[in-house]
Amino acid sequence: MRGKLKRATGATLIAACLVQTAACTKDKPLEEPQYSNDKKITIGAWVAPPPEFINETTYKDIADSGINLIYGLYEDADQNALKALQMAEQNGIQYLVRSRGASVIPEDETDLLDGMFDEFKDSPAFGGVLVSDEPGASKFKQLGALHEKFKQLLPGKHFYVNLFPTYSSLDQRSGRTYKEYIDEYIQTVKPEFVSFDHYPLMQSVDGTYTKEDHLLNLDIVSSASKRAGLPFWAFIQSIGFSTAGTQNRDPDEKDIRWQVYNALAFGAQGIQYFTYWTPTNDGAATFSKAMVDVDGTKTPLYESVKNVNKEIQGFDRIYMNYDNVGVMTLPAENAPANLYTENRLAQFKPIKDIVSEQPIVVGCFQDKSGNQALVLVNYTDPASNQNNKVNIKLDGIRGVSQYDKNGNTISKTGGGNYEVTLEPGEGKFIMLLK
């Protein structure tokens, strides 16, 4: 009897506690988890102001736009780079020194790197060295040897190499498939991060479209990086250009936001604009105008990029604490070809169901304490100007803290339902609050 009573009492107590906990939880105000660190997303940009434009004003403009790492292109590792470093330091940003010399050092003569960057290395703005852009796999062994030496000489500095997109040719990648190319780079060069470019915003006689393999590229690079425990950096097309009969359109703010949020959905820890300053035309490409034109005048895109950078810098200190679990794309049945990925996430526990009018990308995240978050993107071509109503049924989630172009809002999810209409190109970082 006593024993029974005891058990009954125990059960009653447990039930009472459960009721109390539920009541307490229900009444508890929605709060975001707090993070003690202050991690920042890297916001890089290709093409720093050319030598004749290296001054306080142009570098202040870079910093004001939210870019925190600018890459030299027209200046080599020379006096111009020193001046650029000085301007970068004054404005609190980092600068990548371009070195045409470093990339051609043979793998058995890496000692040639000794002292090569001594005059730059003590600058607080020295972010590292831009060593190679779009190397074929045949260069990896040499780059690996250079990187090994570089780490000894300049620990903590970026040994910057940027890789080809999926739509590069097998010849460009020295005959490797794209997956082989990325994996071989990671294994051979042993980088601290994986950077790649992919310019998805297209235009044809029939109108606009986005590249079919845009998500596939993010998927392959993010998956390979994740397996290796490395972050990845993705390029953002911030200029229009024509090459060999194809036309990459001039982007607007919707296009910029769309690219940035898609990169974030796959867990990018760095975004990089191609380009900041407008490059001069060459034999391969004819360029329109980037954030700043060739004469140094800011274009409307400058403000667009600044807006998006400010937006993501509103939550990057949180986002950077989360690990990407995977990415869902919807719809799955009769999906348009451009939604194809090889590692599509089948389920993410708090999500019971998703309904959307148009294609969406859903990046799924979790932090070390088990807190979860989403990056939700309207995956229609931003130029098609389609809104996209999305309804997500969530299990065990009382509310969300949502970051987007309008700032931050915390709201309850009535019955676990989260409903939102995404504007063209819009993305959101959504913390799921239990």
Binding site: L170, L216, N217, G245, Q247, G283, P331, E333, Q358
Partner: protein, 455 residues
Amino acid sequence: MMKKSATLSIALAAALSLSACQGGNSESKESASSNPTGSAKVQETTLKISYFKGGLGEEWIKQSADAFEKAHPGVKVELEGDPGITEKMGPRLESGANLPDVAFVLRTGWQRWAIKGYLADLSDIYATEIDNGKTLKDKLQPGIAEYGNIQGKYWIVPWADGATGLVYNAQMFEDNGWSVPTTMKELDELLPEIKAKGIAPFAWGGKVMSYWDFPVVGWWAQYEGTEGMESYKKMEGPEAYGQEGRLKALEEFERLLGDESNSIEGAAAMDHIQSQMAFLQGKAAMIPNGGWLETEMRNSTPEGFRMKMMQLPAIDGAKETKVNNTMGGDFAIVPAKAKNAELGKEFLKFLSSDDMLKLFTEKSGSVRPFVYDAASVPGLSEFSKSVIDIWQNSENLYLYSENPVYYSKFYDWPLAGAPYMMIYQGDETAQSAFEGNLSYAEENWDAVKADLGIK
């Protein structure tokens, strides 16, 4: 339009995604409608064809598909026209996703696709008799019959062919009594006459600067002659890039565009459509272009506008004057993992009959690189006739080399692609571009060979 599918639960959607990815390109289902007898059901098979949607229009493929369906009961053709299909094919072949059964794409490095095993071996259809006792290989233009052959097998079928060079406003020429120039000297004499009428001699677009390849490669080939170009195509060493004809041709370009008054205003910022519109609006007398121009601009051509292609004016010192830079090299493939690869091959054979070749010419106004009487096709426009006349009565140049150094790395301008914009902007001269390409080839030849595993 996606509401139905998007309402699926995640689990169901995940299950379906696999089939969507793997089988999106083909389907089979029971159908009675396509059975001529109507008595018993036949298996309906879908043949998915992806094709470059551009200057040739779409009527040729639509009508070809209709004809194939009629000849093959139970087959339904699904068409995917896409201006970006060429660059999409690489990722598709690698991933195996969204594969068509046949693809018609622009010239690109297909050889690596073949080496990687992404392409179906087409050797059997090359050896198959198509009509009049001729195999597909027999029917191809001699200059391109071996284009699809590496490692002893045939992997692609050449698709589009034609003539390129300078197109002129025929009515404008006639109204002003201008003779069509046959030499560069005559062209030079004509330019002031055109400008005196307040008209720019040339329309062109800086966003498609490679269109200047059409006349420039033509001048190069005129200067070197067939023997010289065959020597170049052998690509036995970097000295191939030192042919004098290359320099002479670049100098002609430099001279023509070095005089700003020879170009329409704002040309450097124009794309191909804008420059072609300017030509159709009578703002320029000539335009570097190809046999697809009329079809591409059909919906924008003013009523009564007349254009023709001219035999490329001959460069001083030309060994041969009647040379046509075909810009051939566009091709069709059957992916090795295509759902209906055999049906895809059947389609390529089907398109190689004389009747279908003529249908192509009738609907596109252009030609395929086969030996057939394209000029006899009824209803050809004045422009198409001029194009076909050049194609049938010139030494047709198919500029490609079987040397991997060429098709894997260097192509024709190994330093940084075609140098026209740099010359136009004054960043290079014809001489420096010529020398730069030669030096680059000399300095990198052995390294590229080593990289490609060639001894």
